[in-house]
Each structure stands twice: as C-alpha cells, then as structure tokens.
Amino acid sequence: MSQEEKQLTEKESLQIITEMIQKAKANIHERGTSAIMWGTVTGIAGLVSFFENYFNFYIGFDIWLIVFAAIIPQIFISIRENKVRKVVTHTERAIDAIWIVYGISIGCLIFFINVVPDVSAKFFAAEHGEAALQHFPRYIFSAGSIFLILYAIPTLATGIISGFRPMLLGGIICYLFFVVSCYTSGTWDMLLMGLAGIINWLIPGFILRSRYLKGKPC
C-alpha cells in the first residue's frame, strides 16, 4: 500500500474495501481468560453448595464468597487486556456492555435476595400480626432459578452477536436448566447453577483459549 497516489479502478476500490473489512473482522481475538475464571468459580461454588446440602456438611465458610473474590483478578485481567488491545471493534464494545450490565444485575439480585425476605416479613407482620411470622419463610423461593435466567442472558447474547456456538448452546442449555430448576429443590438448583457455570463459561472459555493459541479468530 505504498503507492498512495496510484489511480484506482472501481473494482480495485471495492476489493480494498472488502479486504480491509474482512481483516478488521478477523482481528477479534478473545483469550477466554475471564470466561475460564468465572466458569471455574461459579462451577466450584455451585457444586460445593450442592454437595454441602446433599451430604449435609459445611466447609467452614460460604463458598459463594469465591465469586466475590474473583472480582479482584477480573480487574487485573481487564486492565491487562486493554493494554494489549490495539483495536476496539463495535462487536467487542457491545459484548463488553452486555457483561457490565450483567454484573450490575447480579449485584442487584444478590441485594434483592438479602433484603426482600426481611422486608416482606415486616409487611406481613404489619398485616397479619407478629404471631403469623412463625410460619413466614425468610428466604426467596427458587432463587437459583432467577440466577439461571441471568446467567443465560449475557451468554446467549454473546453467542448470538459473536456467532460463537459454544456460548449460544450454553445460553440455551441454561434456559433449560431454568425450567428444570422451577420444579426442583434449592439443593438441586445449586447443582444446576454449578453445571451452568461450567457449560456456559468454563468450556467455551477453554475453546476460546485453544483458538487464541492457534491464532484463529473467534
């Protein structure tokens, strides 16, 4: 491309446009680091919670805290990825926005699950009297189902936008898990959440990593 003043024919112009748009598209390289990390922590948290409830033991701390702890390495991963990123595509920007909104929504859902049972109990007591609180549940029924819907949204959206089949499939499976979770107890919901983490993010993350190492675009 050094002969900048060379007179172009219409066909050459069209060829340049097509070639450059293809080159820009082919540049999307996702390393899969974040997907592997989040898939691992949600997978471990879900499976450990399931085993704790099913076999009736306690590991000594709330295993879901590892999901919060994963925010710290995620910050470092994001900073590092931004440093090596030479180009920001519209697709990457849209996918980033989806995951940021997902993160905010998960935060809101955790807040909802922790606040609403007590607030509901207060309203219930005001309406039916303190004595009626004896049988009032202090938890949200099938909260795992709501998490499964939220897991599915960014995964399926990413799969559709980027045309990445493992995430597309993961998102669909996650919606199936949601339907199943509506009929299962909280213990089995934990198993579904753990499996969703593995299917939605861990496996696609490894596929992305393998493609990145082979130098293939997503």
Partner: protein
Amino acid sequence: MFKDLDPILHSQLRLAVISLLISVKEAEFTFLKEKTNATAGNLSVQIQKLKEAGYIDVVKQFKDNYPQTICKITPQGVKAFEVYVNNLQSYLSANK
C-alpha cells in the same frame, strides 16, 4: 449521470484506512500499519490528510511511557464513506 468519486477517499491507502476504521470503534496506528502493510511515514501522511478532511479523529497519548496514536472515524467520515460506496456501486452497475 455519474458523480465524481471523493478524491480524499479515492486513494489506495486512505481508502484502506477508512475501510478499516468503519469496521471498528477505534484503532491504534500500529494496527492500521499492520493491516495495510504501509510504511509508518506514508501512513502518517495519509492519516493527516483524512484528519484535515474531517473524516477521522486522531488522539495522541502516552501508554506505558510509549507514544500511542488512536484513530477513530467521525460521523462526517462515515457519511463520506457511504456516499463513496454508493457512487462506486452506480459505476459498477453501469459497467455490467
């Protein structure tokens, strides 16, 4: 009746740069250099011409103590590219 193709865009390297930038939100100078296989000097000159025409925005900053040039297509650049492609299509369909 054919309209003249925009002389700013009707150049091999400038068209390549605009075609890359239309596909992305923003890109570093090194990315454009790598994809167009142009020399740094030639690319700088063509980027400057696109900037003067108002087709791209160029931001120069430092990243990890190294200078970094980020290019981004402007709404005026998008419009010019659309007009260029439309005119190109009319030329090509007339030549069929």
